[in-house]
Amino acid sequence: MTLFLLKRLGHMAIVLIGVTLVVFALIQLVPGDPVRLAMGTRFDPDVYAALRAASGLDRPLVEQYFSYLGNALTGNLGVSFRSGDPVTLLLLARLPATLSLAIASLVVAGLISFPLGIHSALNRGKFSDVVVRVISQFGVSVPDFWMGIILILVFSTTLGWLPPSGYVAITENPWEWFRRVLLPAITVGTASGAIMTRYIRSSVLESLGSDHARTARSKGLPERIVMSRHILRNALVPVITVGGVQLAGLLGGVVVVEVVFAWPGLGRLVYDSVAARDYPVIQGAVLLIAVLFLFINLIVDIVYAKVDPRIALS
């Protein structure tokens, strides 16, 4: 177990170095000079040179990269061009909003996908299976911003049940947080839930027709035990992977929904920073999202090995 963890952390480090290289290189490839852009109309050659020297932009690229890497390792991701705040603090301030939305969305996705996917598989070919498949197709296809706007129109503007947007920290007021997270979580969770529904359906179908399910039936066990111990359990193990991928995706990829619901998360920060060419923030956010992604993958692998004895951790 310890060996496995060390090995995996080693792999993660290599991937992260790759990510920093790509992020660093991408920023260099983008046309436009950030210092010049930040100065705008107040351009002065002396100030420009001084600023470039202060931010290290006049040094060779390799040197710039290594100083960036060294700083990143110590938690210093630079300073925002736009606000002058340390990037690390900006990111940390946004993390709770993103995390709480991602987890709420995953819960919604789970509440949708498990009952629907299992029901659909057990009633394959019947009317309710067709209905579930149509709904999940719909869920996969509908653009999330449209879904978000429709939900706001129905539940806030028309019915007035929920606030249309905004964020309250869960630590501050859990009820208000819940009222505000509901619509964005449904918006995001529906799409993830639709994908997971299809996955769970096919996984349960496969398990239903498996040889070991036949063995369980040949033992004369009650259907309840055959289902829970032999069919669903085996079918849901691979769903852990899909759930992990969905969660990782939710952490970095809900930019549009965060904008629609004025949700101050990482996605929103990236969106604003791209618009403002705030490179240090973009770099830092991408790096943080990559770290989160790798971390979730690691957890998924550990959980997977715990429930499936065929996967050895060492």
Partner: protein, 337 residues
């Protein structure tokens, strides 16, 4: 008499069993039975309905879509026979695993990969025999020992993937015999195993059968395996019994052209250098069975009009030797042997 019957003393048997799934006639009036302590071999090629005859008879083929008719008779302790096909799902569950044990073809997929050997053995004991967990665990070790697994106390804690193919099949046999069933259904239990392991599995089943007096139904496409094991053999083709006899009779006086083809197709030591004999053609499509003899298309002895248009009945050639063919007279066999 133009048809066989399930004997009144049989441990298990099917009587005029037919299975239809959609437009496919998978089985057509199959009758066989196995006595206590006897081994019945069921042979035939893929798609002949071998597995279907036991699976459909014991409720392991979902109905619908399958339409199963006929009777599946299980001998009761009082000497009567009850029909599994008229039982409720709950009654069937009380029979499966308890009075009928199953061993399937591929032990690498037939065992649940997420459960220990112990759990897979104890769940039946706890459910059918109402054993307490500790008692069932103890019994699980004994069962592993019974099927010849070394170090059973340690092996019982293993997961299937930690065992070799032969060991897994022994575990399957232990599971099948765990509740001391009257009938063991072995559905191609050696097909997925190495030849040396095959022999071990055959030996284990044979010795356990002698000890426990279990009736065994051994399904195989391999005449060599079945010949060394069975007391009687049923040859299935196209969902019908085409020949049935005790093993000596079948080996010495095989009469159906298909059975003869199966024997001719067996690879033999010492006959090196020759091409392997095959039965040309392929089995009939169960959705479009020919109106006459099901073997007509591939038969080398066919008599044109009658075999094509008229379905041959099962005829008793000798004592307890039944054949379904117009071409299967002993004379004809001698002429072509």
């Amino acid at each position: 008499m133009t048809t066989t019957n399930v004997s009144t003393t049989a441990a298990f048997g099917v009587d005029d069993l037919s299975v239809r799934i959609g437009s496919a006639q998978i089985l057509n009036g199959v009758t066989w039975s196995v006595e206590r302590g006897e081994t019945l071999g069921i042979v035939g090629e893929s798609g002949s309905g071998k597995s279907m005859t036991v699976l459909s008879a014991t409720g392991l083929v979902p109905r619908p879509p399958a339409v199963v008719t006929g009777r599946a008779l299980l001998g009761q302790p009082d000497g009567s026979q009850s029909d599994l096909l008229t039982m409720t799902a709950a009654q069937l569950r009380a029979v499966r695993g308890r009075r009928l044990g199953y061993v399937f073809q591929d032990p690498s997929t037939s065992l649940n990969p997420l459960l220990t050997v112990e759990r897979q053995l104890t769940e039946g004991l706890e459910y059918h025999l109402k054993m307490r967990p500790a008692e069932a665990s103890k019994r699980a070790v004994e069962l592993l020992e019974m099927v010849g697994i070394p170090d059973p106390a340690r092996r019982v804690k293993n997961y299937p993937h930690e065992l070799s193919g032969g060991m897994r099949q022994r575990v399957m046999i232990a599971i099948a015999l765990s509740c001391d069933p009257e009938v063991l259904i072995a559905d191609e239990p050696t097909t997925a195993l190495d030849v040396t392991i095959q022999a071990q599995i055959v030996d284990i089943v044979r010795s356990l059968q002698q000890r426990l007096g279990t009736a065994v139904i051994w399904i195989s496409h391999d005449l060599g395996v079945v010949g060394g094991l069975a007391d009687r053999i049923v040859v299935l083709y196209g969902g019908q019994v085409v020949e049935q006899a005790d093993v000596e009779t079948l080996f010495e006086q095989r009469s159906h052209p298909y059975t003869q083809g199966l024997f001719a197709a067996r690879p033999t030591l010492g006959r090196t250098g020759n091409e392997l004999v095959t039965i040309s053609g392929s089995p009939p499509d169960p959705r479009e069975l020919p109106p006459g003899c099901v073997f007509y298309d591939r038969c080398e002895l066919r008599l044109d009009d009658r075999c094509r248009t008229e379905r041959p009945p099962l005829v008793e050639l000798g004592p307890e030797h039944w054949v379904r063919s117009f071409c299967a007279t002993p004379e004809r066999q001698e002429a072509t042997a």
